[in-house]
Symmetry: C2
Subunit: 210 residues, 2 copies
């Protein structure tokens, strides 16, 4: 076991430190965030910081960093009050990864990477037609994080689209069936395997696979 | 493609809605959070909401819900100013999942589930000896989330332990080598497979595997 101290971290070369720091959460979600600006330009950006906040109401958060790729997304969400989360499978990974390139604000990543926007009546933000697991959210709060100038964007889930064959009877979604990707660091993606579902844990009762 | 609307979500039976809502981020991280109370009782709780916030300094956040399992963790972090993140591999999954049982505050989950605390000089919170990827953090901020009474706990990474064989030359950590688990919903865990690392994305240049 190797011990890496605070001074070791501070002495890392910049890109190595970013790769290291973005590996620390372990397996991360990865999805394309779809938005539209007030002038009508659509935007797609990969985020690996989507997090469950609550089930009643159904709330998700995500962290926006003050860099250019994230800034377009946050500005569009402020302008329209909504966004979409579009999960990835291997066939759309190259196009999704390419959305992390620093395109100018007037360029739509849909056009630049070859993905197709999909609109629903009454919902401004574009979904990714090629995604098999799509979520529409309405903005509730943007909470500043003083520690480093990031912000937590919080939304209420108002629409979910997924093939019915990948909805489990217990309510969850079959991520292995969807071939839904995970991620780590800045640039690494995984498939999922060997799902195990465990029984509800109670003191004094050994957990079992169900 | 099935469309699930806001009213469909609101009409779901409670447990099904929680399983559904906790599936929406896609693949989630999963780790055991180690803390100690001011009276000396150690605590372990599984969290699937650890998120990267920044690399300089190296910051991670996690969401604490106002229920009993999370409350012990948050109270201990407030009391001592520190905690540990301990990533999971399949051999310790049953014990880790059992830490989600609602043990009384005076019971240490280490004792209850058969994991071993590991202490480092000058750091109050216990690490999980059996984990192969361990992180020590110091509390920076606890940010209330008004939307649903949760809070975002933010810490600075001060110590990381991982076998040196699983550190990539580029700075990242080899999650497949560590057999680091991912999770979804309340009770489902995955292994990772088929890692793909993509080249840095630039406008006009097709991304490639590296």
């Amino acid at each position: 076991m190797e011990t890496i101290t605070l001074s070791d971290i501070e002495e890392m070369e910049l890109l190595a430190r970013v790769q290291f720091a973005t590996s620390l959460p372990g397996a991360k979600p990865i999805s394309l965030i779809g938005t539209i600006g007030s002038e009508g330009t659509t935007n797609l950006a990969p985020f690996s910081s989507v997090v469950h906040l609550g089930s009643s109401p159904c709330l998700l958060g995500m962290v926006s960093r003050p860099d250019s790729v994230n800034r377009h997304t946050a500005a569009n969400i402020l302008a329209t009050g909504c966004w979409t989360i579009n999960h990835l499978h291997p066939q759309i990974l190259p196009a999704a990864h390419q959305c992390s390139a620093r395109y100018p604000q007037e360029t739509s990543e849909f056009d630049a990477v070859g993905l197709s926007p999909l609109f629903h009546d009454g919902f401004a933000a574009p979904f990714v037609s090629e995604s098999l697991f799509r979520i529409g959210l309405e903005l509730l709060e943007m909470i500043p994080i003083p520690a480093n100038g990031t912000q937590l964007i919080i939304g209420k889930v108002v629409l979910v689209q997924v093939p019915s064959a990948f909805r489990h009877d217990h309510g969850g979604i079959d991520l292995v069936g969807l071939d839904c990707l995970a991620s780590t660091a800045l640039d690494t993606y995984f498939q999922l395997r060997a799902p195990v579902r465990m029984s509800y844990a109670k003191p004094g009762v050994s957990p079992t696979r169900i």
